[in-house]
């Protein structure tokens, strides 16, 4: 379900190439198979040196790099690539998973950080955000999804000509969802980017926030924009599933 929904939004991205550098065969298998099923072209490397070689000689759209690797660790690979002016977005995988390591990983030039064990939907959602980030470089002041419009300067949100009255946090939540329209956004991604905290909510608080937003966003309209992707997170998207997309 979650994977299917996510898959849909990357159709047409078949040309996207991803390199997975991971030494644990079963984790690699899990990631590679999942990514291939989601429509990516995936290459793999199982040690640090081989990974660096492939990453620096071939052209990839994103890298998934394990933190601990034989030969050369993941952070060194990314540091080396960044030193050579290679800015392929890189997602670091780690079994360590504390704030410490996240900071180190991001400092080394990683673009995102995911802690094992993780749900595949989480990985996929984050990779898609990384891929999108690559081409969305210019500064935007207006966001638009279907009949929903957001002005980032005046902080005004209008749907079908009707102004929506959002709290500051709801505004940021919607802004993030709109910036990643058509992509699955997980709960932890929302926490990290909207609330700016890295933590683990024990309850469904995010869902409550989302349902509040949904009240304002979709309640008085026929076609809901904000969808729940079960087992993964949320997605703001054009209301009607468009088979041509």
């Amino acid at each position: 379900m979650g994977v299917q929904a996510a898959q849909r939004c990357v159709q047409g991205a078949n040309e996207m190439r991803i390199l997975v550098i991971e030494d644990d065969a079963s984790v690699q298998e899990y990631i590679v198979r999942g990514l291939r099923e989601s429509g990516f072209t995936v290459d793999q490397a199982c040690d640090g040196k081989q990974g660096l070689l492939r990453a620096s000689t071939e052209d990839y759209d994103a890298l998934v790099v394990d933190r601990m690797l034989p030969g050369m660790d993941g952070l060194s690979i990314i540091r080396t690539l960044r030193g050579a002016d290679n800015h392929t977005p890189a997602l670091i995988l780690s079994a360590l998973g504390e704030v410490d390591d996240r900071v180190k990983g991001l400092k080394a030039g990683g673009d995102d950080y995911l802690v094992k064990p993780f749900a595949f939907a989480e990985l996929l959602a984050r990779i898609e955000v990384l891929l999108r980030r690559k081409d969305a470089s210019s500064a935007v002041t207006r966001l638009r999804v279907a009949d929903l419009e957001m002005d980032l300067l005046s902080h005004k949100v209008v749907r079908a000509g009707r102004a929506l009255n959002l709290q500051p946090r709801e505004f940021r939540l919607l802004e993030y969802l709109m910036k990643h329209a058509g992509q699955v956004v997980t709960r932890t991604m929302l926490l990290e980017n909207v609330w700016d905290y890295h933590f683990d909510p024990q309850t469904n608080v995010i869902d409550v926030h989302i349902s509040r937003l949904r009240q304002k966003l979709d309640k008085e309209f026929d076609r809901p924009l904000l969808k729940t992707v079960r087992g993964a997170g949320y997605m703001l998207d054009e209301p009607e599933p468009d088979p041509a997309r």
Binding site: M1, G2, L96, G97, E98, V99, D100, V103, K104, K107, V115, P117, F118, A119, R169, W195, D196, Y197, H198, F199, D200, P201, Q202, T203, V205, V208, H209, R212, R230, G231
Partner: protein, 474 residues
């Protein structure tokens, strides 16, 4: 115990080494004493001979050779047993006076002192072993004076002393060696008892303790054993905790895993629609499991104390305000009022993510356990050194007997096991975060409800901020 084992025993070797060292030291001290006594004796002897010569030289100067000869004659007569020997010879070497018969050949000129053993032996006819010391002197008229003294008494004394010394040392070494062997045997026995006990304990019987010796002396060895036993107690306690923990983990994870397994097993009998539902449920179940695992790992990492680089200057009031804002919708859903009393700012050095997590867990609990339409109070008192955070609810509270246990992983108050969701890790994490910050957590009664007070120092106690200060504030 067989002798070769004694000889190889470490204690025996130490004892022998020590004994050798002491013997050497004693020998050196005694040798110096011997030298000192000898030197003193001869110095006095020489002074005596010198003084006698001086006296006779004055007689010579006043009354000439005959007066000297008379004086020598008097002295020889006076000393029954000759203490001093005299010989006065004329320029040709003929004896003028004295109790020696002939001028010894080996005596030199001037005032030098000489050993006269052989010469005096022949002149006195005394046994060969008698030792003499003497001094010759030339007078202006060509006559020569010899004054000498035997030192048989002192050399005999010294010889005796040397013999006694060597025998005593020999005895010391023998007695010492026996003592060392005995000591070594005793220590060996003690140590092998301890070793045997340790071996048994290592083999798996952690309930064993090393027997403390009967005699009630409070020596180091006894203390060692007592401390070792305490260490075993502590290890046993930790192992029991670990056992309890792994039991809890196994129990708490088995339930959802079993549920998951059963759902999968049922899957093939479901029709298409029910299957969709089931898969969604299973995904949720796996996510919950992952969340539990992540929480466990996180607590373990925080407790290991490795996660220090998250510390950075930050405003704890802002963190708590964010937590309250984050949970506000949840409280609103239950129509609970949340009273927030925070200072405008309370800067300090904290790990903001972990504090957010800890406060989130506390507020989450408060919202969970406070009744519908209940009241929750979040209060912060910012003192110069510390900050005190209080979360109070009007829920069922925690009975005093269980207030310590709720911090254990997976421990849940029995009443809440059924009625409320949760994995029993929330407070473990709060405590771990509090400890990491060098703070304390206290559970109290809010009459009714639970009052949690968390006290944190605003600056970390130890200087572990070097790397964190350089990290950008996220």
């Amino acid at each position: 115990m067989n002798p070769s084992r004694i000889l190889h025993a470490e204690t025996f070797r130490y004892a022998v080494l020590y004994l050798t060292g002491v013997s050497l030291a004693v020998f050196v001290v005694l040798a110096i004493g011997y030298g000192w006594v000898t030197f003193g004796y001869f110095r006095d002897l020489n002074a005596l001979i010198g003084a006698e010569q001086e006296a006779l030289a004055r007689v010579q100067a006043e009354g000439g050779r005959s007066a000297t000869a008379a004086a020598i004659g008097e002295r020889v007569q006076a000393a029954g047993v000759p203490r001093l020997f005299y010989l006065l010879v004329d320029a040709e070497g003929g004896k003028v006076a004295g109790n020696l018969s002939r001028w010894p050949e080996r005596i030199g000129e001037g005032k030098e002192w000489v050993g006269l053993e052989h010469a005096l032996e022949e002149v006195t006819g005394a046994p060969a072993a008698i030792d003499f010391i003497g001094s010759g002197r030339h007078f202006d008229d060509g006559s020569r004076l010899l004054v000498a003294r035997h030192y048989k008494d002192i050399s005999e004394f010294l010889r005796l002393a040397l013999t006694v010394l060597l025998q005593a040392m020999l005895a010391t070494i023998i007695v010492g060696a026996i003592g060392a062997a005995l000591l070594s045997m005793r220590l060996k026995r003690l140590i092998s008892e301890v070793n045997d006990s340790i071996a048994t304990i290592l083999a798996g019987d952690l309930s064993q303790r090393i027997p403390v010796l009967e005699d009630n002396r409070d020596d180091d060895f006894r203390r060692l054993i007592v401390n070792f036993n305490h260490m075993l107690d502590r290890i046993g306690q930790l192992m029991a905790n670990l056992q309890q923990l792994s039991d809890n983990i196994a129990h708490d994870l088995r339930t959802p895993l079993t549920r998951l397994r059963n759902r999968i097993a049922r899957l093939e009998f479901d029709d298409r629609e029910a299957r969709g539902e089931a898969v969604a449920g299973m995904l949720q179940e796996s996510d919950d499991l992952l969340a539990t695992f992540n929480a466990l790992l996180r607590i373990a990492q925080i407790e290991a104390g490795g996660a220090r680089s998250g510390f950075a200057p930050t405003d704890i009031a802002l963190i708590v305000r964010d937590v309250c804002e984050f949970y506000e919708p949840l409280a609103a859903e239950k129509h609970q009022t949340v009273c927030i009393d925070l200072p405008p700012a309370c800067p300090g050095v904290f790990d903001r993510d972990l504090l957010f997590q800890a406060c989130a867990n506390l507020l989450d609990n408060a919202i969970k356990y406070a009744p519908r339409d209940g009241h929750i109070e979040v209060t912060m008192r910012c003192a110069p050194e510390t900050v005190e955070l209080e979360f109070a609810d009007d829920g069922p509270g925690i009975p005093p007997a269980e207030r310590e246990r709720v911090f254990e992983r997976f421990y849940r108050v029995e009443a809440s096991r059924s009625g409320y969701p949760g994995n029993g890790l929330g407070l473990s994490l709060v405590r771990a975060v509090g400890n990491l910050h060098g703070g304390s957590i206290e559970l109290g009664d809010n009459a009714p409800g639970l009052r949690v007070v968390m006290r944190l120092p605003r600056q970390p106690a130890r200087g572990e901020l070097t790397s964190a200060a350089a990290a950008p504030a996220r």
